[in-house]
């Protein structure tokens, strides 16, 4: 230390520092010596000391900052080497400290990180940024502190310039709320890591707009936008942010939806369509922001259904609709429009099974002549029968399982062809008797060698034939390598079916070519497989390709392939039977088992050879002598087994699906066995052990794939499902109570449960603002009403005895005479004397006589079917008298939206119902009893149903008496079960009832609806037109009913009904009953008038 004066200064300064509060001086002592060593230049050291003192004096509590200053020094010194910079660093701190010590402290704490990464150049800016956040308040101080703490790490992702912009934004937020700004800052680190350089500008623009318009959402925006960006295609990110910013300028939260949901939608489609979608979105946004957001939300589903190339057609149609009618367009873009749906179906090339199932089912029935059921493979998987893997078509002999949809080809026609080929292949199995295999029966083409092989095998094994569940099991038992045999058999049998189908159905040849051609793509290359597997793959390819096509053949295995080809070719014969397939399988198995399943040597030669050529060179004969002398030795792998790779089953051919002959036959045998036990005849019982044994050895079932691992004994479960399958058959849903005998008690119960389950059906709803249906909007749950006491019926009959007699007389008069004499006919049985005389008189008088002078008896038949639909809404619980009082101000019974309120509201209504008043529903019930008495006298077909519900997914539809159900005690008891329930969604109930009537073949059909007020339900409305919406939907439902040739009639007991009934019914008949007490009397009158 050469300069003494400086040394004096240093001593003085050090002393001064030592006199600072203990916490400061302590730190000083800790670092001092080290710092001193680092400063080569004592001036700098002096400066350092001086600065520390200045800082410590800069403000109250400045010691905090000073401590940090000391602490930071050592690390900072790694990055600072000259006096200027040191001054700059310390001066910044000093300045900060003069405003707030904690800020300065934070500054010193973070500065070394900052300096390490960014050097001195930006230090000033950084300090300014922090400083700008401080506005003299405690809160802003905290924010600035946070800023210094977190910003160095932010700068990993952000440039200084961007950070400055962000700080400006933060500052703006802080004007409104420092807390919000602080939260934003905390989130910033997490958010910024998701950003990329090029989208940052847009991001900041968006944040600026947000702060400007909706500062409260800044935090949400910051996070959402950061999450959204990576989901959007890179080249569209800037635009995406701009769009969001533009939307944010309009206030409201819509842009947040766009950020969250929109980007989510985009992430569900491929990047290449993002531009297109955003173009559309932008355009649409200028017309209707609301619709644009819905549009982007619907995009993934839309693209899934119509593909990205055709989505513009849909979009343009929607745009046109939007311009005409905003509500309609909105519904369209929400995918809640019937017109939109039908358009999508039209554009889409996808074929859905549900749409074509009825057609293909008939087709399959036609081809097979059996009572085939077409089902979806998903259903099969749900039945936990480990049958089909993935989405593969298959059949179990009475059901055909097909995938849910096919969209592999660009046009509807091609996709349908694919479905048709898929279906035809499965029906082919049935038509050409794949499952009708008999072990002992000789085929038409190949000689019978199975029996000899079996006895040879038994001889070697020294066993006797074991009991088998199916002929196929016996056959596959011949093969030590079941999987190989199963693969060969499947390939050959599929080939046989394809061949026979193509022979018998010339029209299928073209679609078959298309599908078979496509089937070879994407299959594993035989060159890359172990040899034996490779040969199986070659066999499969030969079954798919035309004779002219070529396949790669390993040169040294040429003769094996030749013989395989020849055998396959021989099987392709119009008279081939499954037994022939079995023989061919045996031949090929013997060929292949000798080939070791080793990976092909690298130097192996492969020749592309035409299949036709192979066929000519090969032979399908195996040397008899060989097989005889071998004594079964030709059924096991040849020498060189030590090199064998375990044989892995071949890949399925897509369109051929899964073929499980052994399982199908077993199932058929189980069913047969079941029937036989029913008939009390003797039959060999199938034990669980036998099935278990089958399952263990069968190559067709992979038990591990059947059930998830957490079930102890998968085979047990499989057996039980197989057993129940064979008992119940696949369509347990149609079972009635008189199910097959021998069913355990448990199953009976479960069957009953099954019956109890309400049937559901979907109906569309009419939106009068959009002038369009909302497709499949309401779900009807239909169930039989709970039975009540039979007393009610009897009491009513007694009470109204007089009226009943009167009504009955009235109805009896309605019954027409079976024959009625009709007069004045131009032709008939005999002259009508009066007319004949007139004729003569007129003729004599010289006028032209009327030639209609015959009479005949004409038969007229009454043929009426009617459904009575009772409103079971909660309002029917009202007492009749009260109702009268309330009738004037009836508007307060709007159903509350909130479920809690609703329950409360419901409860209060129910309480009212417990009073001893006579309720509206009581009168409805009594009228029903009267009607039943009357209807039974004239023999009309009638059904009584009640409806209620809550929300569009819970429209309840109760059957009191089904249309064709005979009248019984049960019906009497059910009438008592009619009770007030929830809301009144009339539309779907009417549609459902009309659907029921539509299925009935009566000349006159009537739908008679009895209600106590206007239709209303939660969500049965539309903004701005709450009541109107329900009325209009009901009106539309009534019009639909009429279009079906059914006479709808509405009877309401709501005296205030005139105002809406007119609108609801239009020119359809209705009646408003002035006095509800007249209902029992009036109802039969109306009915007789309607059906006359």
């Amino acid at each position: 230390m050469p300069d003494i004066s400086k040394d004096g200064d240093i001593t003085a300064l050090s002393k001064e520092i030592q006199s600072l509060p203990v916490s400061v001086s302590q730190i000083f002592s800790q670092v001092d010596s080290q710092v001193q060593k680092r400063f080569i230049n004592s001036d700098n050291y002096l400066l350092w000391l001086r600065n520390s003192l200045e800082i410590s004096k800069a403000s109250f509590r400045a010691w905090e900052a000073t401590t940090e200053y000391f602490r930071a020094t050592l690390e900072v010194l790694d990055n600072i080497d000259n006096q200027e910079d040191l001054a700059l660093w310390a001066d910044g701190g000093k300045r900060l400290c003069s405003t707030s010590a904690p800020i300065a402290a934070a500054y010193f704490r973070s500065s070394h990180i900052f300096l390490t990464d960014h050097g001195m150049d930006d230090l000033k800016q950084w300090i300014n940024a922090g400083e700008s956040l401080y506005h003299g308040t405690w809160k802003s101080g905290a924010l600035a502190t946070k800023f210094f703490e977190t910003s160095p790490s932010l700068l990993f992702e952000f440039s200084m310039e961007h950070l400055m912009q962000y700080v400006a934004i933060l500052d703006n937020v802080a004007e409104h709320s420092s807390e919000m700004a602080e939260e934003c800052l905390l989130l910033a680190g997490e958010s910024f890591t998701l950003l990329e350089e090029e989208s940052t500008e847009g991001y900041l623009t968006l944040l600026r707009s947000t702060v400007h318009n909706n500062w409260k959402y800044t935090k949400d925006t910051q996070r959402s936008a950061a999450l959204a960006l990576p989901r959007v295609a890179r080249h569209e990110r800037a635009r995406y942010m701009d769009l969001a910013a533009k939307m944010a300028d309009e206030r409201g939260k819509r842009y947040l939806v766009f950020l969250n949901e929109g980007s989510k939608s985009l992430s569900e489609v491929t990047y290449d369509v993002h531009s297109k979608i955003l173009d559309m979105f932008e355009n649409l946004y200028s017309i209707s922001p609301e619709a644009a957001v819905e549009f982007i939300h619907s995009c993934p589903e839309l693209i899934r259904r119509v593909g990205s190339n055709d989505m513009h057609k849909w979009y343009e149609a929607g745009l046109a609709m939007l311009q005409q009618n905003h509500a309609a367009g909105l519904g369209f873009f929400k995918l809640e429009s019937a017109r939109g749906e039908s358009l999508i179906d039209q554009i889409s090339a996808t074929i859905k099974l549900e749409d074509i199932a009825p057609i293909l089912q008939m087709y399959a029935r036609g081809l097979t002549g059996g009572d085939m059921q077409l089902r979806s493979v998903t259903e099969l998987q749900e039945r936990s029968l480990g049958w089909a893997r993935e989405e593969k078509a298959s059949t179990d002999g009475s059901n055909i399982f097909l995938p849910d949809e096919i969209s592999s080809f660009p046009t509807k026609n091609e996709n349908f062809s694919w479905f048709k080929v898929l279906c035809s292949h499965q029906t082919g199995h049935l038509e050409f008797m794949s499952f009708n295999f008999d072990f002992k029966r000789e085929g038409n083409i190949f000689a019978l060698r199975r029996l000899a092989t079996e006895s040879a095998k038994l001889e070697t094994d020294g066993g006797s034939p074991t009991a088998v569940l199916s002929e196929f099991e016996r056959f596959f038992d011949l093969f030590p390598q079941r999987r190989l045999a199963s693969d060969i058999y499947q390939a050959l049998e599929d080939a046989r079916i394809d061949y026979l189908t193509r022979q018998a159905y010339a029209g299928l040849r073209d679609p078959y070519r298309l599908v078979q051609g496509a089937a070879t793509y994407g299959r594993r290359s035989p060159q890359n497989l172990p040899l034996r597997e490779g040969l199986v793959e070659l066999l499969i390819r030969m079954t798919l390709l035309e004779k002219e096509a070529t396949i790669p053949v390993p040169r040294n295995l040429r003769s094996v392939v030749n013989n395989m080809a020849a055998t396959l070719d021989k099987l392709m014969d119009k008279t081939a039977l499954p037994e022939d397939t079995a023989e061919a399988c045996l031949i090929i198995y013997k060929l292949l088992i000798k080939v070791p399943n080793t990976p092909p040597p690298a130097d192996m030669d492969w020749d592309e050879t035409q299949i036709g050529e192979l066929t000519e060179e090969g032979t399908s004969e195996i040397q008899e002598a060989d097989s005889a002398s071998a004594g079964g030795q030709d059924m096991v792998p040849g020498s060189g087994t030590e090199d064998d790779v375990e044989y892995k089953p071949a890949e399925d051919v897509d369109y051929r699906g899964d073929f499980k002959p052994e399982l199908v036959q077993t199932l058929a045998n189980l069913r047969k066995g079941q029937q036989q036990t029913d008939e009390m005849t003797k039959s060999p019982p199938l034990t669980e052990e036998m099935i278990k044994q089958l399952l263990e050895k069968s190559a067709e079932i992979d038990l591990s794939s059947v059930v998830d691992g957490n079930i102890d004994d998968p085979s047990g479960l499989f057996i039980s499902s197989l057993m129940s399958e064979s008992i119940e058959g696949p369509d347990a849903e149609f079972k009635d109570e008189s199910g097959p005998g021998g069913v355990g008690k448990e199953e009976v119960e479960s069957e009953e449960e099954l019956m109890e389950e309400p049937k559901t059906s979907l109906y569309s709803e009419w939106d009068f603002v959009a002038l369009d249906y909302k497709p499949n909007w309401c779900r009807i749950h239909e169930s039989v009403i709970t039975e009540g006491s039979i007393d009610f019926y009897q009491e009513t009959v007694d009470k109204y005895a007089g009226l009943i007699n009167e009504v009955r007389r009235q109805f009896e008069m309605m019954v027409p005479e079976t024959y009625r004499k009709e007069k004045r006919l131009p032709d008939g049985e005999e002259f009508d004397l009066d007319s004949a005389i007139e004729y003569i008189v007129e003729k004599r008088a010289g006028t032209a006589p009327d030639e209609k002078i015959y009479w005949r008896r004409n038969k007229t038949q009454r043929d009426v079917a009617v459904i009575f639909l009772l409103d079971m809404s909660a309002s029917t619980a009202e007492a009749i008298d009260e109702k009268e009082l309330k009738a004037v101000n009836d508007d307060d019974d709007d159903v509350p939206e909130d479920p809690k309120q609703y329950l409360y509201w419901l409860k209060s209504r129910r309480e009212k119902a417990n009073r001893s008043y006579r309720r509206i529903i009581d009168l409805e019930k009594e009228s029903t009893v009267l009607l039943i008495r009357a209807l039974e006298t004239i023999g009309d077909t009638y059904g009584i149903y009640g409806f209620s519900g809550y929300g569009r997914d819970n429209v309840e539809f109760y059957s009191v008496k089904a249309l064709e159900e005979p009248f019984s005690d049960k019906v009497q008891r059910r009438i008592d079960g009619i009770n007030p329930l929830h809301a009144t969604r009339m539309g779907p109930a009417i549609r459902h009832a009309a659907e029921k009537l539509d299925d009935i073949g009566a000349k006159t059909k009537v739908l008679f609806l009895i209600s106590d007020g206007r239709p209303q339900d939660r969500g049965y409305s539309r903004e701005g037109a709450e009541k109107e919406y329900a009325v209009q939907d009901t009106h539309m439902a009534l019009l639909e009913t009429k279009a079906k040739g059914i006479i709808p009639f509405l009877l309401t007991v709501d005296r205030a009904g005139h105002d809406y009934m007119k609108e609801m019914c239009g020119d359809l008949p209705y009646e408003v009953l002035a006095d509800i007490n007249l209902l029992p009397k009036r109802l039969p009158q109306l009915y007789s008038r309607l059906t006359l």
């Binding site: 008939m362 009572d371 048709k420 049985e829 004949a836 004729y839």
Partner: protein, 303 residues
């Protein structure tokens, strides 16, 4: 007595159509009929024993053709009303009077009625009366469709009495020798309401007709429509498949008659798929999805 003078108009100058009195309508050329079983022998025996015959079977399976063929085969001299060469009986057919029944067919429609003629009434025989008098085969098609009062007439005619009461004129007609009542009936789609009563059905021997087996049907289609044998085979195969759909959406399977129509169209150059669509799919059902299913079968079978 008949309003129009008897006599064939066929030999007059306006010969673009032929007009016959019902009794005179005989089948002179052998109609094509391919016997499936022993129906010819049974019918001939019944005819000789004067036992009325009930033909059962679905529409278009050949019932009417069979009756025509039998009328030709049993051709024999006419006993009444015929003028002209009724002595030459060889090669002449037997008169065949076919009456299609419908819901409003009454007894008077069959027996006859009074008509006004000037200021007088005149009795006109109905077709059944004329058949009884002429000793013709009277073929009542779809008999269950007719009104119940017709059974009053059928009953006395079909037992040993062979009498036709003509109530309005106070007469009873005894059937001429060659008279035979044949009725047809399709048990398939008639509802239980219209089932034939036991008292009626037990007056007939019954013969069941089915659509012919595939090879024979192909032969019939080939012969009748002139379509090539291959197409006829495919048509027969189509028929077999479509008939599988009976009760599964179709009330009736496709009739041989329709197959012949399809064959006719094909031999006139219509493409097989189009011909079958028109003659089978469209003809059988109005339900678009059923039509579609049948069309899919057609497009599978025909190229």
């Amino acid at each position: 007595m008949p309003k129009k003078s008897s006599g064939s108009v066929a030999d007059t100058n306006r010969a673009s159509y032929s007009e016959y009195e019902v009794e005179e309508f005989t089948i002179d050329e052998e109609p094509y009929y391919l016997p499936i079983q022993d129906e010819i022998e049974v019918f001939t025996a019944a005819y000789e024993q004067k036992i009325p015959v009930l033909l059962k079977g679905p529409t278009g399976c050949g019932k009417t053709r069979f009756v025509e063929y039998m009328a030709w085969r049993l051709g024999r001299p006419m006993s009444t009303v015929r003028k002209g060469n009724n002595q030459e009986s060889d090669g002449e057919g037997k008169p065949l009077i076919t009456i299609a029944s419908h819901e409003d067919l009454t007894a008077s429609d069959l027996v006859g009625r009074f008509l006004l003629d000037g200021e007088e009434t005149r009795w006109v025989d109905g077709p059944l009366t004329r058949a009884v008098k002429a000793g013709a085969i009277c073929y009542l098609d779809e008999v269950v469709e007719a009104r119940k009062d017709t059974t009053v007439l059928i009953h006395p005619l079909t037992d040993h009495r062979r009498l036709l009461p003509v109530e309005k004129r106070g007469q009873i007609l005894e059937a001429a020798d060659g008279f035979l009542l044949v009725i047809s009936y399709n048990p398939g789609y008639q509802s239980a309401l219209k089932d034939l009563k036991q008292s009626t059905r037990q007056r007939f021997i019954a013969m069941e007709f089915e659509y012919p087996p595939r090879e024979q049907e192909a032969a019939i289609v080939h012969q009748e429509s002139g379509v090539d044998q291959n197409s006829a085979d495919l048509l027969a195969r189509l028929a077999e498949k479509v008939r599988n759909l009976k009760e599964h959406g179709l009330q009736e399977g496709v009739s041989t008659r329709l197959l012949i129509y399809a064959g006719n169209l094909i031999s006139k150059g219509i493409s097989p798929r189009r011909a079958c669509e028109a003659a089978v799919a469209q003809a059988l059902s109005d339900d678009p999805s059923v039509q579609r299913s049948i069309n899919e079968i057609i497009t599978s079978i025909f190229e």
